[in-house]
């Protein structure tokens, strides 16, 4: 049976295949099961221990215990194994033993990416539990799980998962090459691994997606992407990714279709707003106030007339305060957490405008910028986008409206020239017909 199984299933680290030979009676027992899916203590107490103790004939145990079922059809072996059964081959007959372990209760809640209707749990810091959840989510015999150790001192185990039928081998080679070239003593978190695996050092946008959600990992595996899992960290890395994967939340597949399409459009508008709005405020108010209608301009002038210094100083002050507020709310102890929202809301909002330090239009602009920044679903992209507005502010100060859109063009060029492990990062798909070739000869389908 084990030889047959080696042919059917893809090689993976968590498939335990044992051939036990009793030293005294000489009987052979073949045992195969997926470690993350099965409860090992059950297997030991019902199969291995009675076999080694040999108090009763083993065949009576197999036939009398209702947990054992005789299996006649070899086509069902993979299905049974993936559902947490252990296969036992003894004296030319094959039995399956139900040892399924459900560990959904041990999982922590998803903190970074929440959804309303989807699964609420994230991966856990114990790799075996995470692997069991992933195996349960992606029940395919083609799933390969490899293991290697990274870090010279810490020897942290890293699990590499992919579907061997769908994966792009070129990407896999690139990844192995990159992993082999990591020479660091301690690797303790996924974020560190991401920094090391990223393409260039000073790039603007993240090229690996860090996630904790099981449904996103399952979906990525089904598209042929590679998932990396580090022991001791509850976040997994998905690669290769495109820019559009970062803008897509898992709920786009669960909820009503028209609303989700509208929400995707909203996310792109939020991206545009959060990048260009402070720059446009400076450019329009100080360079070309004739862009707006005359009534709107006079309203803006009315609110700006109380402020004694030029518009870009105002913008920099407000943005600086918002960044400090956001940073402090990550680190503030929970007991004083509510004070910070009061401080932020009252002081930054109304008091500073009544004191005449900042115009009310600026308050609206700042809050819009802050809110639209967090519409983006993935945290690493949201952080990358938070930086993008500052060069545009500099360009707006010196060049006006043309500078803002020049900066936007520059960002488009940077986006299009990023490659994520060989995959084109920012490219409008259209229909890619597999009969025609691909452009440039690289990229996956």
């Amino acid at each position: 049976m084990l030889n047959r199984l080696k042919i059917i299933l893809s090689p993976s680290e968590d498939l335990i295949q044992n051939e036990l030979t009793h030293p005294i009676t000489g009987q052979k027992l073949e045992l195969a099961y997926y470690l993350p899916l099965c409860d090992e203590t059950k297997i030991h107490s019902f199969i291995t221990v009675p076999f080694s103790k040999n108090e009763y004939p083993f065949m009576t145990l197999l036939q009398s215990n209702p947990n054992f079922t005789k299996v006649t059809d070899p086509a069902t072996w993979t299905d049974l194994l993936l559902r947490g059964q252990a296969m036992v081959a003894y004296q030319d007959s094959i039995f399956s033993f139900d040892a399924l372990k459900y560990s959904y209760n041990d999982l922590p809640d998803a903190k970074l990416e929440t959804s309303i209707l989807g699964p609420q749990h994230s991966l856990s810091e114990d790799p075996i539990t995470s692997l069991s959840v992933i195996r349960n989510a992606y029940m395919s015999p083609e799933l390969v799980i490899d293991k290697m150790n990274v870090g010279n001192l810490s020897r942290t185990s890293l699990y590499i998962m992919y579907d061997q039928r769908k994966v792009n081998n070129h990407t896999l080679d690139l990844l192995m090459h990159k992993l082999a070239s990591i020479h660091l003593d301690l690797i303790q978190s996924t974020g560190q691994l991401e920094r090391l695996l990223n393409g260039k050092k000073y790039q603007l946008f993240p090229t690996l997606l860090i996630t904790e959600r099981i449904d996103r990992i399952g979906r990525a595996l089904s598209f042929g992407k590679i998932v990396l899992l580090l022991k001791g960290s509850q976040y997994a890395i998905i690669l290769p990714v495109t820019f559009f994967d970062f803008m897509h939340a898992v709920e786009d597949h669960y909820e009503s279709i028209w609303m989700t399409k509208l929400l995707i459009i909203l996310r792109y508008s939020a991206l545009f707003i959060t990048t260009t709005l402070p720059g446009l405020y400076i450019a329009i108010l100080s360079y070309n106030p004739e862009i707006f209608k005359v009534q709107l301009t006079f309203s803006l002038v009315a609110s700006r007339s109380i402020v004694p210094y030029p518009s870009f100083i105002e913008v920099l002050i407000m943005l600086g305060m918002i960044e400090m507020l956001l940073e402090s709310s990550i680190r503030i102890p929970k007991l004083i957490g509510s004070t910070s929202t009061t401080v932020g809301g009252l002081i930054l909002g109304s008091a500073i405008q009544q004191a005449g330090l900042v115009s009310s239009i600026m308050i609206i602009v700042t809050s819009l910028v802050a809110i639209s920044n967090f519409v983006l679903p993935i945290h690493s992209m949201s952080l990358a986008v938070r930086f993008l507005k500052y060069p545009i502010i500099v360009l707006a100060i010196f060049l006006g409206v043309a500078g803002v859109f020049l900066g936007l063009f520059f960002y488009i060029v940077c986006l299009c020239s990023t490659r994520s492990f060989g995959e084109y990062y920012f490219r409008y798909r259209g229909d890619v017909n597999s009969k025609q070739g691909e452009i440039g000869g690289a990229g996956t389908s």
Partner: protein
């Protein structure tokens, strides 16, 4: 894959129509422009079909490699220098015209040389990216700009100022013979396919050109609209008073229900992106042509790391263009632009016919090799 051919065609079509070409066409609107507009799609279609048919015989190869099959290296180097000069100059003309437009409308007190310098640095940076990246940037910029261009055209046609009588009057002068300058201007619009001389490297080997007639048709409709709409909006006489005719036309319409009232600013921003994309493509082609002359040149349409030679060549192009700005002012830019277009028309004829003959030669050479 076919859509990239469309993008290259349209970037040349749109950008040139609002920059240089209307000036010359409208100057001679009573003496030959209409005839030139009618003749130009035929000339453009013939050149397009000849060039693309020739390129299908050389899959995945750019112009330097095509010439390299047949001619010794010194001849090919001279041709490459000439072609790089032509392409670089047309891109530089577009960019400096647009910088002047910015100085007029958006930032009248800014230093014009500073503005041109910043625009050129950004374009030079974008031009040093790999060929595949330039394709993608072009695609994104065109997809983002296209709805706004359509909106401005629609607003202009539907505005109450549009006077079809004036259009009819100018159109009745179709039986005058055009001068060389006007034919060169009109055919300039249809020459987007020459970008393929470098971008053919990115196409896969089994690529076939489809819907080429659609390219010519859309460019022709565009040329008609962009010649006749200013005449309808401004009348037959006042239209030659304006220096930048399409800016004035876009300014004559009104978006009454938005918070931006002048359509001019929308138009200028879209034009900025189109001009930047056009310059990026033109300078990228110049860089690729000049790289052929340097030794140890590796041709890779999807380079991971830009080699230093690209940056050096880009810097050189930047310096030459910038220093030329000191000698040329607004008036001479239009006159020199006219001469440049005539030179360009003839050199394009020559290149297209030459490449076509070379493709025939290759077919004969391959047949001979097979039969041996």
């Amino acid at each position: 894959m076919n859509r990239y051919v469309f993008y290259h065609y349209f970037i040349v079509c749109f950008t040139n129509l609002v920059m240089l070409v209307p000036y010359h066409l409208i100057n001679e609107r009573f003496s030959g422009s209409v005839m030139a507009i009618i003749l130009s799609p035929f000339i453009g279609a013939i050149m397009l079909y000849m060039f693309t048919n020739a390129l299908t015989k050389f899959p995945g190869e750019g112009l330097p490699e095509i010439f390299d099959h047949f001619y010794p290296r010194w001849l090919v180097s001279m041709i490459m220098i000439y072609k790089s000069f032509i392409t670089g100059t047309s891109a530089a003309i577009v960019l400096s015209t647009y910088a002047v437009i910015i100085t007029r409308f958006l930032n009248p007190e800014g230093n014009p040389y500073g503005i041109v310098l910043v625009l050129m640095v950004v374009c030079a940076f974008a031009a040093t990216r790999s060929t595949v990246t330039v394709n993608f940037v072009l695609e994104i910029v065109l997809i983002l700009s296209f709805p706004f261009v359509g909106f401005v055209l629609y607003k202009a046609i539907k505005s109450p100022l549009m006077n079809w009588d004036a259009v009819a009057i100018v159109a009745e002068h179709y039986n005058k013979m055009p001068s060389l300058l006007v034919i060169a201007s009109a055919t300039f619009v249809f020459t987007g396919f020459l970008n393929l001389s470098i971008f053919n490297r990115t196409f896969p080997t089994n690529f076939r050109f489809k819907y080429r007639w659609l390219l010519v048709l859309i460019a022709f409709i565009d040329l008609l609209m962009i010649f006749f709409i200013p005449i309808g909006v401004h009348g037959t006489e006042a239209v030659e008073h304006y220096v930048y005719i399409w800016s004035a036309t876009a300014d004559s319409t009104k978006m009454a229900y938005g918070f931006i009232e002048r359509v001019l600013f929308l138009f200028l921003i879209v034009l900025l992106h189109l001009a930047l994309a056009f310059t990026m493509v033109g300078w990228h082609m110049s860089i690729e042509f000049l790289r052929y002359l340097l030794p140890n040149n590796i041709v890779n349409p999807d380079e991971a790391k830009t080699p230093l030679r690209s940056y050096v060549i880009a810097g050189g192009i930047l310096l030459i263009t910038f220093s030329c700005m000191f000698f040329i002012n607004q008036l001479s830019m239009f006159q020199l632009g006219g001469y440049f277009m005539i030179i360009r028309m003839f050199s394009e004829f020559v290149i297209v016919i030459w490449v076509y003959l070379l493709s025939k030669k290759k077919v004969r050479r391959d047949e001979k090799r097979i039969s041996i």
